[in-house]
Amino acid sequence: MSAPTSAWRVVEALSGRAADRVPFFLPVTVLGARLLGVSIREYLSSPRLMVRGQLAWREKLGHDAVTPFHSAAAEVTAFGGEVVYYDDGPPNAGQPPLELDADQLLRLEPPHPEDAPLLQRGLETTRGLAAAVGGEAIVLGAAVGPFSLPAMQLGLPGWLTLLHERPDAAAHLARVNATFCAAWANAQLAAGANAILVFEPLASPQLMEPARWRALGAPATRAAIAGIRGPVLLGFGSAPALGVAAEALELGAAALCAGAGDDLAALKGCCRGRALLIGGLDSLPLASGGPDAAQAAVRRALRDAGQGGGFLLSESHGEIPWTTPDETLLAAADAVRRWGTYGAGGALRG
């Protein structure tokens, strides 16, 4: 019998089953630059370096996926936005590219992701990663959800104002973004990604009143997911997911990601038999807590959500903070291998 692969482990978890151990992925994005000793800007400008960085981290941590993710801001470049780089953290979106003008927004049409040079480079990174891992590990693409992308297109104050004062234009922008989101995700799948993580933080009731999400957000997110020709993992940034989990599961996602401070056991209850649950580590405690705290957090997560399969341990924001020490990540990875192995019937041995 051949050795279990990372891809098999994740597929089993997606199917709600327990493989040999809990699959895990620590989303090291810009940390690839640190590992290779280059600047973040240089790293993110080079698909070759990004592939090397992802592979080097996978070798170091032994986790089950790689990602071509550049930044959420990269997607806004397709709408005329800019990316602002820093030496010590992930890039941000610059000034919002769209005007808060409802009539103009009602005429907006979705751009083609392939027309944006930064997204083209993302596809090159995806192809490089897919070729390098050769099906052994999951290549996890990413896209910003249609209801959350306007926070960068208009700025969050502008988007909230539009949602409340011109819901017709807000609904149109969300529809445009749903088309764009599906197209960008499908381009990544065609380039070799196996699944797409869609970030939709504004679905969280911590950020948006549920009635407005249901009226204007959920239809767009549902349309985007329906248009994506592969498994969609739905994440909420660091925003809590529990309050929206039951409704989010109706949108067609294959997995839900927990947010910071979420009750993992309750979320596992929502997801059981319906979707994979992803999460367990919160980014800021991970950055500052040290190796022992990371191991304790892994054990808590395994206890709360690991039994019986259907769980992938990861970090809740979708990006490990730049200041997180290597030792902390190595300790977390070690803890999953030590306490996350499955025995008979999907019981955790740890």
Binding site: V84, Y86, D88, G89, P90, N92, A93, G94, Q95, P96, G155, L156, P157, L160, T161, L163, H164, P205, Q206, L207, M208, E209, P210, R212, S238, G243, A260, G261, D282, S283, L284, P285, A287, S288, P321, W322, T323
Partner: protein, 215 residues
């Protein structure tokens, strides 16, 4: 003086209007309060407490950030309608506000709305500014207290540099920080060298007044 018992009714009415994101209803509630107790007292006794209540609901998980933001935006508009903003008089507390390092403006907008609703006249020191630029502007503007909004962890960590630069330039202005990193890591504001942390925008006027007037 004991406030008019009817004031409590206006506070509830305004809170309901804010939660429904209904500007017309909010205007009606505040106008009623202004007729009852005068414009200045209506801001103090009705507008500010109702904003506090919406902020408390967000902390307690029964309101969204979207409702808090829109309440602040409408409060600012209504305060302007009742008492148009004027330049701060000589001797008034000089409260600087800024977004450090990035373009996430929501927090600062909410803080400005709360400060203005509380009768303060915040001085805008910019968005996406570096620690060096912000320190320079704060010194130039002779701020008594500096309120700094952040969203990303790296911006929160840059507060330490900001505080160092302010002190190097001879400014003793207390620095109050706010934003997601400080809510998620309750000890981060101390590590960053700030003087206080606001967990919700409604904390801003209280902290500005308490720290800015410190001898």
């Amino acid at each position: 003086m004991t406030p008019d018992p009817a004031i409590g009714g206006y506070v509830e009415q305004l809170e309901r209007a804010f939660l429904a994101v209904d500007l017309a209803a909010a205007r009606e509630a505040l106008s009623g309060a202004a007729r009852a107790v005068g414009a200045g007292r209506a801001l103090e006794l009705v507008l500010v407490p109702s904003l506090d209540r919406v902020g408390d609901r967000w902390s307690g998980g029964t309101a969204s950030l979207s409702q808090v933001y829109m309440a602040g935006r409408y409060a600012e508009r209504l305060a302007d309608e009742l008492l148009p903003a004027a330049a701060p008089p000589d001797g008034a507390l000089r409260v600087g506000v800024a977004v450090l390092e990035d373009q996430h403006l929501l927090g600062k907008r909410m803080v400005v709305a709360h400060l203005r609703a509380a009768g303060l006249a915040p001085i805008d020191l910019g968005d996406g500014v570096t620690a060096a630029v912000l320190a320079e502007r704060a010194v130039e503007q002779r701020v008594d207290v500096l309120l700094v909004s952040t969203l990303m962890l790296r911006a929160a960590l840059a507060v330490k540099e900001l505080v160092g630069l302010l002190r190097q330039r001879g400014s003793a202005a207390p620095v109050v920080v706010g934003g997601a990193p400080f809510r998620l890591d309750p000890e981060l504001w101390r590590a960053a060298g700030a003087d206080a942390c606001g967990l919700v925008a409604a904390d801003a006027p209280r902290l500005a007044l308490a720290l800015g007037r410190r001898p």
